[in-house]
Every structure is written in structure tokens, then in C-alpha cells.
Symmetry: C2
Subunit: 211 residues, 2 copies
């Protein structure tokens, strides 16, 4: 088998636009493929996903999809890398309880939204069956958590929380119970968001997030 540069996509995670030729078309193809993947995941779900269908939606060749990403998880991992780059701004309400509530509501709305919710379910399912996707998901959350952790630093400075509080753990604690409900397909309403935020706030105040 003669391996051209053409055939090298199989090295672990999906690669970003190739180093040697990052220009227009490659980037356009990637963007179209990722949007199509998003749509397909939302409409038909992970289980019935078909790379040929994605190619059709994206208006690109089926061969291209197989060559560049090779597998469904690799494609999703690349989608996650793309999502991690788009940042959503945090709130700053002036109190820890308010900030965490805003965060909880954001997560709640995302997971409840018809499109976003379906997308996240599919992505989480993919992450559970593929380590590269899991790694990409971790990076995605790293980015989101980094966005929100200043809330906790501010609360420590205001004297709301004990010094040494693990900011990232506090942020994670807000969304964990909401994701747990997502797993079992239970509904997630604003009440649950409020509970999640209140619980994390109480635990943080009690000093439960110091190592």
C-alpha cells in the first residue's frame, strides 16, 4: 500500500486544517462538515449517523469525510474542538449565589433546548464510547470552567468563601446534578437549576471545596 500524504488522517484525534495548506477550501470543507455533523446528530442521533449523509448535507464528497476524519467519534471530537473555541461570556451579578445561579440557568437552558440538548446527548454518548472524544469533551469543559471560575475568586475576595476554595470544583458542582438528570432523560427545569446553584453555594460556604 502506497501511503500518500492524502491518507494520514488516522493518527489519533482529528487534525486541524493541515499545516502545509491551511487556506480557503480546506477550512470551508471542515466548517461545512462540522455544521452538517451538528445537524445530523440533532436530527437522526448518534446511533443512526451516516457519514455519507453528512457529506450530502455538507455538499462535499463522501470520500473526503472518510479520508479526513475516518470515524464518527473523530468527527465529533473535532466538532468539540471547534465548540471549545467559541466562548460564551459569564455573568457577574455581584454575589456568588447570583453568579452560580446564572451559570446553572445557562446550563439548564442549553440542556433543555431542543437542538442543543439533542446535540449534547449525542456528544456525551460519543465521549462515553471513545477516549479521544472524551478527551475533546474534557478540553471543552476546561474552556467553559475557565470562563466561570473568576466568580469564585471574586467571592473569596469579598469574604463570601474561605480562602483556598477550589474554584473549578465549585463550577463543576453546579452542572453535575443537571447532567446527571440528562443521563436518565428526566426533565430539567429552572427549579432544578436553582437547587443546583443553591446547593453548590451552601457547600462552598461550608468550606467543602478546600483540598
Amino acid at each position: 500500500m502506497v501511503v500518500g500524504v492524502d491518507d494520514m488522517a488516522a493518527d489519533g484525534a482529528a487534525r486541524l486544517p493541515a499545516a502545509s495548506r491551511p487556506g480557503g477550501r480546506t477550512a470551508r470543507v471542515r466548517a461545512a462538515a462540522l455544521r452538517a455533523t451538528e445537524d445530523a446528530l440533532i436530527e437522526v442521533g448518534l446511533a443512526r449517523l451516516d457519514l455519507a449523509d453528512i457529506a450530502r448535507r455538507a455538499g462535499i464528497g463522501k470520500t473526503t469525510v472518510y479520508r479526513r476524519w475516518r470515524t464518527v467519534p473523530a468527527l465529533i471530537a473535532d466538532l468539540l474542538a471547534d465548540m471549545a473555541e467559541q466562548s460564551s461570556p459569564r455573568s457577574d451579578t455581584g454575589s456568588l449565589a447570583g453568579d452560580l445561579l446564572a451559570n446553572a440557568h445557562l446550563v439548564q437552558r442549553t440542556l433543555t433546548d431542543a437542538r442543543q440538548g439533542a446535540l449534547f446527548r449525542a456528544i456525551l454518548a460519543a465521549a462515553l464510547t471513545d477516549t479521544d472524544t472524551a478527551e475533546a469533551l474534557r478540553r471543552f469543559y476546561e474552556a467553559r470552567i475557565s470562563e466561570w471560575e473568576p466568580c469564585v475568586y471574586a467571592a473569596v475576595e469579598r469574604g463570601e468563601l474561605p480562602a483556598g476554595t477550589d474554584a473549578r470544583e465549585v463550577i463543576r458542582a453546579v452542572s453535575a446534578p443537571l447532567y446527571h438528570r440528562l443521563l436518565t432523560g428526566e426533565d430539567i427545569d429552572p427549579t432544578h437549576a436553582e437547587h443546583a446553584a443553591a446547593t453548590a453555594t451552601a457547600a462552598a460556604r461550608a468550606g467543602a471545596y478546600r483540598p
Copy 2:
């Protein structure tokens, strides 16, 4: 198409041993299929699962598997129903913190164990892509939570917690952060279990689980 009684498995969730003939062989076949499903999920994972392979492992006919369960998610949902029936006893250490810690360690060990962890990852992935499986998963957790909620009632009676504390929410709060780590493929060690238990305890004491 002549529909015999033979062909009626497609009504939603997988059925339990048929009402009219619950006896020996049917039950044996089901048990063998569920054990084989467990093994296959652990060894090859959800993505590469093959019903013919499961039939081979179970020593039963491929046709039988397709006829009785129809799809992979239906088979997994039936596996979950089976798992829900096997109860694991709770601990009683005499204090809420101790009981929740015991629960957290149990969850931590389960998710960390090579076989059980892989099995849970596959099951959660299936639940995220199929509502019947999600429903079965919900029932499974209902059973587990019911087993442990007396810890909380006891703590209320001892005066450790305020009256009106939502027992089920407290139990869920212990495992939620551990499952959240599972999603992203992060390691889960006893330290994380201790944090999860301590956090839930602190939040419960602070009255965060009253509606």
C-alpha cells in the same frame, strides 16, 4: 405478511419472559443473552456491538436475539431491568457522613472497576441515545436510591439534618459529581469519593435539600 405470536417483540421495551410460557428454556435463553450482552459490552464496547456475536457467546440462535429484542438498545434496557432486580445492601455506620462516604466509595469502586466501569459507560451511552433505555436506567437508579435513602431519614431523626430534607436528592448528590467525571474519562479515585460525600453532607446540613 402473516404475523404469528412469534413476531410480536417490537412493542416498545423488551418484554420479560412471555406470559403464556414463562418456563425453563425461555428464561435460560434470556439469562444467557443478558450475560453475553454484558460481556460483549465490556469487551468490544457499545459502538462495535454485534447481535450475532452476542448470540454466539450465549450459545443461542442469532434469529432468537433479533426476534426477542429487535435492537441493541432494547437488549440493554432489558439488561438494566435485570440489574435493577439485584439489590446491593446499604451501609449503616451511625452517622450521615459515614453512610454517604460508604455510598460514595461504592459508586467510586463500581465506576473504576475495569468490567463494571466499562459496562456502565456503555449503558449510559445507550441511555443517551434511546429513550427506552433511559427509562430503564431511571428505574435502575430508583431502586438503588430507595435502598440508600433510609440513611437520610435516620440522620433527620438523629437531628443531624433539618426535617423535610429530600432524601433522594441527597443520595443523588453524592454520585452526580462522580458520574460527571466518568463522562469526561477523568480518573475517579477515593479522594473524589470523599469530596463528593463531604460536599453532599455539608449541603444537606446547611438545609440545601429542602424543597
